[in-house]
């Protein structure tokens, strides 16, 4: 302890206090203040940038989710449209078939009717011709039969016989 006290120099203590105080003041003013401020600013900047990046990430996620939703909707819509188109097509085909069938039936019926009437006309015609021919044949036959007198008298007799029978 005595050695320590003997070693203690008031002058050195004085200079140390004075110079350290001065150094402290100058460092405070010209070094530590700007350094700590710069470091703090930088750290705040980094923090802000990180927060901004986080926000951007979230935004991006939202956008992705939105676009996915849109895509899904579009796909569903397309699906619906395709389905509708298919239905329409099927309906149209069915309608067309039905219509064609009806038309065909109608034409068939008309054709059948036409054939029927033609047939009737032809049959009537044939009938008329047959009648004419029959008459002609009958005329010729009668003419042949009645060519001599005997035969004429026989006929009259036959007929008269028939009438008697009646």
């Amino acid at each position: 302890m005595e050695k320590l006290l003997e070693e203690f120099s008031l002058g050195l203590f004085f200079w140390q206090t004075l110079l350290f105080g001065l150094l402290l003041f100058l460092m405070w003013k010209f070094a530590w203040k700007p350094i700590l401020k710069a470091v703090n600013d930088r750290e705040d900047g980094i923090k802000d940038a990180l927060a901004a990046a986080e926000d951007a990430k979230k935004e991006m996620q939202n956008v992705t989710a939105d676009s996915e939703k849109l895509l899904k909707e579009a796909r569903a819509e397309r699906e619906a449209m395709l389905k509708e188109a298919r239905e329409i097509k099927e309906k149209m085909v069915a309608d067309a078939q039905e219509q064609a069938k009806a038309e065909g039936d109608k034409m068939l019926k008309q054709a059948q009717a036409a054939i029927e009437s033609e047939k009737k006309a032809a049959v009537a015609d044939i009938k008329a011709q047959v009648a004419t021919l029959s008459v002609d044949i009958a005329e010729k036959v009668i003419k042949e039969e009645l060519s001599d007198k005997k035969k004429q008298l026989k006929l009259v007799d036959d007929m008269l016989g028939d009438i008697k029978l009646n």
Binding site: L4, E7, F8, S9, L10, G11, L12, F13, F14, W15, Q16, T17, L19, F20, L22, L23, L24, L26, M27, W28, F30, A31, W32, K33, P34, I35, L36, A38, V39, D41, R42, G45
Partner: protein, 376 residues
């Protein structure tokens, strides 16, 4: 702990060297007895001299053929207060060999201290061989003061350029700043913030940073061949610790002072506290002074011890003049130097860390008080 480690190291060194050089020394002892003793004393005195402050900046000295001491270095201004201010160059003392006459008064340098003497430079001694001459108030710019100024200028230059590099490079340090910035951040994030608290650490930061780099740089300068021992000087550590003491107590909050004088708080009735406080309060008040005192002694003793060990190891080289002694001594001195570089940083760290801890105690506002207020 550390000191004992160093002591053991030194002991081992002495034992090893002693074994090898014993024979040789014995041989030499006959013819060289008086000289050998002189050498040991000389080394001891040299170390003692080195540990002390000096009035001139001498880098080394040697003795010429004719026995005249030659000093290489430069003189420093002497500033005395002895019935008026007296300023003169330390070259007037001729390294303590002559008496300096200034304005009719005579001064002599004796064991690095200035004494007022008569014209012949007589030093009177008491029975303990202490000089009894009058000592003028000595405000000289000594070697240590020069080193303080050099360190201060170096710090100013380094850190103002770091500050400027931030402005120039958009918040990114350049050059030496890249090395020092992490240290600044370490002091802020790992010393100040956890010990003082997030809200209050800011106002202590300039002091903590200044004291850390000041001690560290001066410790490192102590390792250079300049031969300075600033932080191992009791006046320096005393000044630093005094500043810590003043800042601690002037920034002390109400809670801090309440804790000093009423350490138990409202936990027991006043009549129960009286017998305890007779012991507790003096201990608390003593603690106020012991804390900074431990700071000043720790730094002083560590740096002093480091210098003594290093110089002793180097001195061994001259004592054991064996072929093995010098390389071993060199190797040991080198190893201790490496440890001392670490110690230089460590002591600066410990001083800063403990200062921050004391500031933290002083500026603390107890959390439970807030909780109590909230609860009501």
């Amino acid at each position: 702990m550390r000191k004992t480690y160093l002591k053991n190291f030194l002991l081992i060194a002495v034992l090893i060297l002693g074994q090898f050089s014993f024979a040789k020394e014995k041989e030499e002892k006959h013819g060289d007895e008086s000289h050998g003793k002189d050498l040991k004393t000389e080394i001891k005195e040299y170390i003692q001299h080195h540990l002390q402050d000096s009035h001139d900046f001498s880098l080394f000295s040697y003795t010429q053929e004719n026995g005249e001491h030659k000093y290489v270095g430069f003189p420093l201004p002497i500033i005395l207060w002895d019935n008026g201010l007296k300023v003169f160059s330390s070259s007037k003392f001729h390294h303590g060999e002559t008496v300096a006459e200034v304005d009719g008064s005579y001064y002599k340098l004796y064991h690095s201290k200035i004494y007022k003497t008569d014209a012949e430079g007589t030093i009177n001694y008491d029975e303990d061989h202490h000089a009894t001459n009058a000592r003028p108030l000595d405000f000289s710019i000594t070697k240590n003061v020069v080193m303080i100024i050099v360190t201060g200028l170096l710090m100013l230059w380094l850190f103002t350029s770091l500050a400027r590099s931030y402005a120039k490079n958009n918040g990114v340090p350049t050059g030496a700043g890249r090395f020092f910035e992490p240290i600044v951040l370490y002091i802020r994030d790992d010393i100040a913030r956890p010990n003082i608290g997030e809200k209050r650490y800011g106002k202590y930061m300039p002091f903590l940073l200044t004291i850390f780099f000041f001690i560290w740089f001066l410790n490192i300068f102590g390792m250079t061949p300049l031969g300075v021992n600033v932080t191992g000087n009791i006046a320096i550590t005393f000044a630093l610790a005094l500043m810590v003491f003043l800042i601690t107590n002037f920034t002390g909050t109400k809670d801090y002072w309440m804790h000093q004088f009423n350490p138990l708080g409202d936990s027991m009735p006043w009549y129960a506290k009286i017998p305890l406080y007779i012991i507790l309060v003096p201990i608390e008040i003593l603690g106020l002074f012991i804390k900074p005192f431990s700071l000043l002694i720790r730094l002083y003793a560590n740096m002093q011890a480091g210098h003594i060990v290093l110089m002793s190891l180097i001195g061994l080289m001259f004592i054991f003049k064996s072929w093995l002694g010098s390389p071993l001594s060199f190797g040991l001195a080198f190893a201790i130097s490496l440890i001392e570089v670490l110690v230089a940083l460590l002591q600066a760290y410990i001083f800063t860390m403990l200062s921050a801890l004391y500031f933290g105690f002083a500026s603390e506002e107890h959390e439970h008080d807030y909780e109590a207020e909230v609860a009501h």
